[in-house]
């Protein structure tokens, strides 16, 4: 079965230049809207499907600039014997190195033999399909993939609408179920004749005036006609394969099924046909409840990592991501920049550049765990990796507080938190950063890490927000909140744990100098370190979960944030600024309603 080994796209819509090496099995593209995900799916379909019916327009050219041609190269590997035929395709065999992705102009024993199909569209907008090789063997030769072989590599696309698959037709998956259409054709021709006969027998009312007028005129003009009748035009009732469509037992056409059901049905049909092995699915979750998403993904081979087919899909659903394995996930990124003209150059114009790239999540164990634990985060452009549940709680609590104040949520700004799960937080932050997410790490400072770790994070543009050394989150909190708020924090701790346990810990860590009651009634500055230490102690863990941390932030720290001292307020304020400054941030609502 044929597998796409490499896709190279130039000057096609939002893509300036992109090279991508997809895997066999499922390839799920995620990334912000307008980032080029659908462009890639379209490129694959246009190249391999060779649909003559698609008309290219200037808008298909990158930045509408038709001076550079659209070039879409799709390189196929795992070729079957027919595509490996020396005498047919020998001049175009290229060699692909699966380890390095390197392409050589001729195949070799240590390389995989691949064929590159090229779709070229120049300014005349005429698409031109051919095989491509840069090797000397192919010089001056022009050859296309044989029609029967193109049938086998043409992908089936499960678009938003799958209705055309519900009738027999050239692009329908049903057409591939039966290779012999001749019987159906004979039946169609017979049906067409019967329809014309029935019409002729029944006659047609309301055309008598036309007929008599025609008769008279013909007679006057000396044209010899015995009679003129109104019959069905042969051309009007010639049925093609498209006239046969699936219906249920109430004779309701299957194309009236819900879009989700139809997509499920087509996916199932496709799998049983098993001819084309390349499958394209837009918005896999479209029209499907979660349990049906899971069923569709199963049929696409999500769990079995079925390498007998190759599936390209896009999604915006965390449910889909949770069903996938990390190796199946790829992030699509598009950045646009303007390079100003060289200073001092007369008449220099700014150059607009687009960069497109695709980053795989990879198949490491930690990548898989990150995908399971933080699937939502993969769908936002900005990710804040939080060391643990406390930090997530703090962030969410403050977010809720801010929303209550009429500000936009951090989700609205395009930011999502991810659970760093303690010691794996660095690894997870790197995973997100490497996939092209704008990444922050939110952690505490009670463990001393090698400066090398922070250098690596900086190198990947990961912004770290943490308390001054050596403060834990609890210590930073108790060191920073105003005295009036100490009582509120302790109340939350008491409600979360119990009065006794809080009291015992305060006594233990102050060598019985302080008690819970003393702290509540006669607060002294010296109590702050004791409370911080007691709060973070393992037997205490007053705020070590999302709920208490969220509560203290929403109810206590948030409302009084103006009075919170620097150890806590400075890092957290900076983090909040980082969220507000995200490139995808939503502007603040202006007073007075509509902008």
């Amino acid at each position: 079965m044929t597998v796409i080994r490499e896709i190279e796209i130039r000057h096609f819509r939002v893509i300036s230049h992109l090279k991508w090496w997809p895997n066999s099995g499922i390839n799920c593209l995620i990334g912000p809207g307008d980032g080029g995900k659908s462009t890639i799916l379209d490129a694959i379909e246009l190249n391999l499907g060779a649909r003559q019916s698609y008309s290219f327009t200037d808008a298909d050219f990158h930045r509408c600039d038709t001076s550079s041609s659209i070039i879409i190269d799709v390189t196929l590997g795992s070729l079957d014997d027919e595509l490996l035929n020396l005498e047919v395709y020998g001049h175009f065999f290229r060699g692909w190195n699966p380890r390095t992705g390197e392409m050589q102009s001729e195949t070799a024993a240590h390389l995989e033999t691949v064929l590159t199909l090229r779709l070229l569209v120049s300014a005349d907008l005429e698409p031109f399909w051919s095989l491509y090789s840069d090797g000397p063997a192919a010089e001056g030769r022009e050859r296309n993939i044989l029609f029967k072989h193109r049938q086998n590599v043409a992908p089936v696309r499960l678009g938003a609408t799958a209705a055309h698959h519900m009738a027999l037709g050239p692009r329908s998956v049903l057409g591939k179920l039966s290779s012999d259409m001749s019987q159906a054709s004979a039946a169609l021709a017979a049906a067409s004749r019967q329809a014309r006969q029935a019409f002729a027998d029944q006659g047609c009312e309301g055309v008598e005036d036309i007929l008599s007028a025609s008769r008279t005129i013909a007679h006057n003009m000396g044209i010899r006609v015995d009679d003129i009748k109104a019959l069905l035009d042969v051309r009007g009732v010639t049925f093609t394969g498209g006239a046969i469509a699936l219906h249920d037992n109430d004779h309701v056409p299957m194309r009236s099924l819900g879009s989700g059901s139809m997509r499920l049905l087509v996916a199932g049909l496709q799998k049983s046909v098993g001819n084309s092995t390349i499958f394209i699915v837009d918005e896999v979750e479209f029209g499907l409840e979660p349990y049906r998403i899971v069923r569709l993904l199963d049929s696409l081979g999500a769990k079995t990592n079925d390498s007998t087919q190759q599936v390209f899909l896009t999604t915006h659903s965390p449910i889909v991501l949770k069903e996938l394995s990390s190796v199946q996930l790829h992030a699509m990124r598009t950045t646009k920049a303007v390079i100003p003209p060289m200073p001092g150059v007369e008449g220099g114009v700014p150059i607009r550049v687009t960069q497109n790239w695709i980053r795989p999540l990879g198949d490491r164990e930690e990548a898989q765990k990150t995908l399971r634990a933080c699937s939502e985060a993969f769908l936002a452009p900005n990710v804040i990796v939080c060391e643990g549940k406390t930090e997530i709680g703090l962030l969410r609590g403050f977010d809720l507080h801010a929303q209550a104040q009429g500000q936009h949520s951090m989700l609205a700004h395009g930011c999502h938190w991810a659970d760093g799960n303690g010691s794996t937080m660095f690894e997870r932050a790197k995973i997100f950063a490497d996939m092209g997410y704008r990444t922050a790490l939110f952690m505490d400072s009670d463990v001393v890490y090698d400066p090398q770790i922070y250098a690596e994070l900086a190198q990947r543009n990961i912004t770290v927000f943490r308390w001054p050394d050596p403060l834990s989150t609890e210590e930073a909190l108790f060191a920073s909140v105003p005295p009036t708020h100490i009582e509120l924090l302790l109340n939350i701790a008491v409600q979360w744990k119990s009065q006794d346990s809080v009291d015992t810990l305060i006594k233990r860590f102050s060598n019985n100098t302080y008690s819970l009651g003393a702290c509540l009634l006669h607060f002294e500055e010296a109590m702050r370190p004791v409370l911080g230490t007691a709060a973070k102690d393992k037997s205490g863990s007053w705020f070590k979960d999302i709920e208490p941390a969220e509560r203290l932030m929403r109810e206590v720290v948030g409302p009084g944030f103006g009075q919170v001292a620097a150890p806590f307020a400075a890092p957290f304020g900076a983090l909040w600024d980082w969220i507000q400054q995200s490139p995808t941030a939503r502007p603040l609502p202006r007073p007075g309603g509509i902008q």
Binding site: L79, D80, D81, E82, L84, N85, L86, E87, G90, H91, F93, S105, E106, T107, A108, A109, T113, G135, P136, A137
Partner: protein, 474 residues
């Protein structure tokens, strides 16, 4: 006995096939077996390709069952696909250097770089006429045999060449070392079919004897093999030979005769043909002297063209009398001629007086219509005539180039052999007739090798007439 099951049941093998023992039938039957992929069927010459193609078509083997080519042709196709891996860049505008190309393709096939492609394209490999393969070609076939089940067919006793430009593999060590002997074909079908079973058996015995460096006695197959002693008188000999040929024609009016002449001197074969009515000359595939004549006539007009035309005619026609024609033309021009010019002389005069190819064609036609003259090299004569006509009718090439083109066309279309033909063993190899006449089986100046002798003897299905000084040869 080797059959189709043996051929298809082996990964690598070699079938030794004495002449007329059903080799082609075995190959065709093996190719015809149902298979998912076509068999690659390679042979040595384009003539061999034509023979196999005709046989495959006649037996209705679908063309999807095989890919038929010469080894050199297949190598040329491959070299253009993998110039880098083969390490040889062939310039398509130049004549192919087949030695270098086959060497490079042999290396490529052994390298393993295109194993999966070969396996995907072909199901099996069969190679015909393996005794004629060079070491380079043996390299290609051995390389392919690492990937494809391969059987080679040939007969070391039919291994003859005009000259060796390239090394050849040793049959016993190299060929049978790579392709173990499956068996030797032993039913002399060609002779059995015409009821000459005794001759078929005698030839298998003769082959055995020759292979073991023993002598054969031409008197030991009465009724089929006749020994005619040669004398020292050349004219006497040729008269006897022509008489024997006429006698055969009289006795078997509609049967074919191959006459095997000197392997080196083409003129001696032409000489025979000029004396024996109805005998055509089998021309070498390069048509060397026709191309040379076309070159000497190229872009000429008038007197030089007439001389070149006469030189050519003399090599293909009897009684041309070139010198006499030239003398007569001078007489006519000086008005000293006492007799009226003949039509032939008028036509020659037209060429002489600034005439071009059109006048040459007219001259040739008058000459060939003359009953006192006879064309004894038809294919050479008609090739020249066709080239002249095409150039007169406005073909874009000049005469020499056009002639070379015609030659290449003939090379690929295969050749038609007249019912009575003379040639050398090399030219007649692979052909068969009812009767064979060997003009000199023990020429002391140009001794026939054991292989040459076997090829010569095995051409005739019904009778062999061998001229030799002694009845026991070589």
């Amino acid at each position: 006995m080797v059959d189709v099951a043996d051929v298809l049941g082996t990964a690598r093998g070699c079938v030794v096939a004495p002449a007329g023992c059903g080799k082609t039938e075995l190959i065709v039957a093996s190719v015809a077996q149902q298979a998912t992929k076509p068999s690659l069927l390679l042979t040595h010459t384009t003539a061999g390709v034509a023979v196999l193609r005709a046989r495959l078509k006649r037996l209705g083997v679908p063309s999807s069952a095989y890919r038929l080519n010469t080894i050199a042709g297949w190598a040329l196709a491959l070299i253009s696909m993998f110039p880098e891996r083969a390490g040889y860049a062939h310039d398509v505008t130049q004549n192919p250097d087949y030695v270098a190309i086959q060497n490079a393709i042999g290396t490529l096939c052994k390298s393993g770089h295109i194993n999966s492609e070969i396996r995907a394209t072909y199901g099996r490999l069969f190679v015909d006429e393996y005794q004629d393969c060079t070491s380079n070609q043996h390299g290609i076939v051995s390389g392919l045999a690492r990937v494809l089940p391969t059987v080679v067919f040939g007969d070391p006793m039919q291994c003859i060449f005009n000259f060796r430009r390239e090394p050849f593999p040793d049959w016993t060590n190299d060929v049978m070392g790579t392709f173990p002997l499956l068996g030797t074909l032993q039913t002399p079908w060609r002779w059995n079919r015409v009821g000459a079973n005794n001759l078929g058996v005698w030839l298998l015995g003769a082959r055995q004897a020759l292979q073991n460096s023993h002598q054969i006695d031409l008197r030991t197959c009465p009724g089929h093999v006749t020994w005619y002693p040669l004398t020292n008188d050349f004219n006497q000999n040729i008269t006897t030979q022509v008489r024997v040929q006429y006698e055969l024609s009289r006795q078997y009016p509609s049967q074919s005769i191959l006459i095997i002449g000197d392997s080196i001197q083409a003129t001696s074969r032409h000489n025979y043909a000029s004396r024996a009515h109805g005998v055509s000359v089998v021309e070498p595939v390069d048509f060397g002297d026709v191309v040379a004549s076309a070159r000497s006539m190229n872009s000429q007009v008038g007197a030089p063209l007439l001389q070149a035309s006469l030189d050519f005619l003399s090599s293909v026609m009897t009684n041309v009398g070139g010198t006499q024609i030239q003398t007569r033309i001078q007489s006519i021009l000086n008005r000293r001629n006492r007799t009226e010019p003949t039509p032939a002389e008028m036509a020659a005069l037209a060429v002489n007086q600034s005439g071009g190819y059109a006048e040459v064609i007219a001259f040739f036609k008058v000459m060939s219509a003359d009953t006192s003259r006879r064309i004894y090299r038809d294919s050479a004569y008609y090739m020249m005539l066709e080239a002249l006509k095409s150039v007169v009718q406005g073909a874009p090439q000049d005469l020499a180039t056009y002639t070379v083109g015609l030659r290449e066309q003939r090379r690929h279309s295969g050749r038609d052999i007249a019912p009575k033909s003379i040639g050398s063993t090399l030219l007649l190899k692979g052909l068969e007739a009812d009767h064979v006449i060997i003009l000199d089986a023990d020429n002391p100046k140009n001794r026939m090798s054991r292989e040459h002798l076997y090829v010569a003897l095995s051409r005739g299905a019904r009778t062999i007439s061998a001229f030799a000084r002694r009845p026991v040869i070589p």
